[in-house]
Amino acid sequence: MLELINLTCGYNSKFLLKDINIKVEKGELIGIIGPNGSGKTTLLRAITRVIKPEKGKILFEKKNIEKFSFKELAKKIAVVSQISTANVMTVEEFVLLGRIPHRRRLQFLETKLDEEIAHRAMDLTGTFNLKERFFGDLSAGEKQLVVIARSLAQEPELLLLDEPTSHLDIAHQVKILDLIKRLNKNGLTVIIVLHELNLASQYCNRLILLNNGTLHKCGSPSEVLTYQIIEEVYKTIVVVRENPISSKPYVFLVSEEERQKKGEMC
């Protein structure tokens, strides 16, 4: 569905991503992980054409994304960004903005269909009861759900999410990722940038580990999240065990004090 071929890009001719090759199949749920500054967000911005590739290309459904108009692309790819700005807009108006790519020329008002789709997106994300509230008055967790509702109103085939769970409590983290998993089960292809390795391990079918702008490792969570790879990339001592219920890898952190104690004992 999406193919990145030898992608090299960055800001002001400083390359942040070097020679990335990734192939995403329809129906996948892919997690992108990596340390801060490793190029995770840049990768998403390249896919959404915010920045142009210096070398290489990105194919969407076998067609170079630069051949799509912005509008055509927005009908197929929706993005949930890291920061969604608060403003004086009701939740319903905000979600209806997701219908913009589907507007016809000279269409002034939203159609009945637009409204139905927006309502369905709000139902799906459990935000329908918030529809009269102002976006700026919502809690961080509610905002994130509303932004996801807006992206669903675009009726995309591919959903990109940039750290949707940062700043959220564990209940909201699980709620949002469960929702994404459900959407993925219903046929939506998802690429999600995650900081939290354990959430990535728990929810994604495939992980892509970026390090210094290069693709370090790509594979299933148990292939990527080994203590050797994590210690190499993050330069941090960790212990990896299996989650007793899901049997996915789970990464434990150890404080310096404990590490020293352990060292003395040995």
Partner: protein, 332 residues
């Protein structure tokens, strides 16, 4: 959606009604008071009388110019505030007024208007405005991308530079020229050239129509440039067109009527509070209210201590500022 449409239509008709009422009121008051109920018979059969010529040659041109300039400035304010996502931006922030003022100043001290005719004043103002627009635009464009923050900073700096140049010109010019410069800078709706008035009205109404083609894009831009891009908006093209549109509207207004402050800042703000932030309603509402606001201010300016006429900028500043502070304190 039907409800929204009805709600919007109510807004537009109320504001349209207010505009009409204010225009009729403005026609009837002045040093020679003409009762409202006599206006229609006068228009129909009063040709040749002094009242008729007061209405058509003195008051009506001012009203039409007030409509054009007030509408254009507010519209430009809405567009720029939406584009910059900054409620403090107004049409004059980008240095356009400074450029126009500088153009007019040069014209006055070189006495071009005496040799080439009084109508060169708006032309030189407009040339000054265009020059600044080109300068700001080309300084803020990098690799085909219009940097919004750069645009703002360059504009503010150019404002400073041109006001310093104006001060320099005033310092070295003769007293009667200084009077002309000050008079122009203070802004006035007095204009005798019908062609210019009609042109201003035409430009500001076309500006309104063009801006409506971008109402949805403006809504998307209120989320930020990147999010607008994700929603399929061609952000670069939209920004460029909107910047040029807003600049031209401002440039035309300034070159015809001088620098009338506050309309482009206060009116969009007010309407955002009351009518909502959806640009599909905000654009027309701001246009209509801006027009009403400037016409009523001008009426006050010419009647409050008649026969002396105050600069209209004094009234827009005082009235607008007070209303604004009141609204903000009420809201908090």
């Amino acid at each position: 959606m039907r409800n929204k449409l009805i709600y919007w239509l109510i807004w537009v008709s109320v504001l349209g009604g207010i505009l009409l009422g204010i225009s009729i009121f403005s026609l009837s008051v002045g040093s020679a008071g003409i009762p409202v109920n006599q206006i229609i018979p006068l228009i129909l059969e009063g040709k040749g009388t002094t009242e008729y010529s007061i209405l058509f040659d003195i008051r009506l041109p001012r009203i039409i110019l007030g409509f054009a300039v007030g509408g254009a400035l507010s519209l430009s304010g809405v567009i720029l505030q939406g584009m910059f996502r900054n409620p403090l931006v107004e049409p004059y922030t980008l240095g356009i007024s400074g450029g126009a003022a500088l153009g007019v100043c040069l014209n006055i001290i070189f006495h071009l208007y005496q040799t080439l005719g009084i109508s060169t004043l708006p032309i030189s103002g407009f040339l000054g405005a265009i020059l600044v627009i080109l300068l700001v635009y080309s300084l803020s464009i990098r690799k085909g991308i219009l940097k919004i923050q750069g645009l703002l900073l360059t504009g503010v700096m150019i404002s400073f530079i041109s006001s310093s140049l104006i001060m320099f010109i005033m310092a070295i010019s003769r007293t009667e020229d200084i009077h002309g410069i000050i008079f122009w800078i203070m802004g006035s709706l007095e204009e005798t050239n019908w062609l210019l008035i009609k042109l201003a009205a035409l430009i500001s109404i076309s500006g309104l129509f063009i801006s409506y083609k971008f109402s949805i894009q403006l809504n998307a831009l209120s989320l930020g440039e990147e999010e607008a891009l994700h929603l399929g908006v061609n952000v670069e093209r939209t920004k460029k067109i909107l910047f040029v549109l807003a600049s031209l509207l401002t440039g035309c207004s300034v070159s015809v009527a001088g620098i009338i402050g506050f309309v482009g800042l206060v009116v969009p703000h007010f309407l955002r509070i009351f009518a909502g932030s959806d640009h599909r309603i905000l654009l027309i509402c701001s246009f209509l209210s801006g027009a009403s606001f400037l016409i009523i201010c001008d009426t006050l300016a010419r009647t409050i201590i008649s026969p002396i006429e105050l600069p209209v900028g004094v009234i827009t500043g005082i009235l607008g500022g007070c209303l604004f502070v009141y609204a903000l304190s009420k809201r908090a």
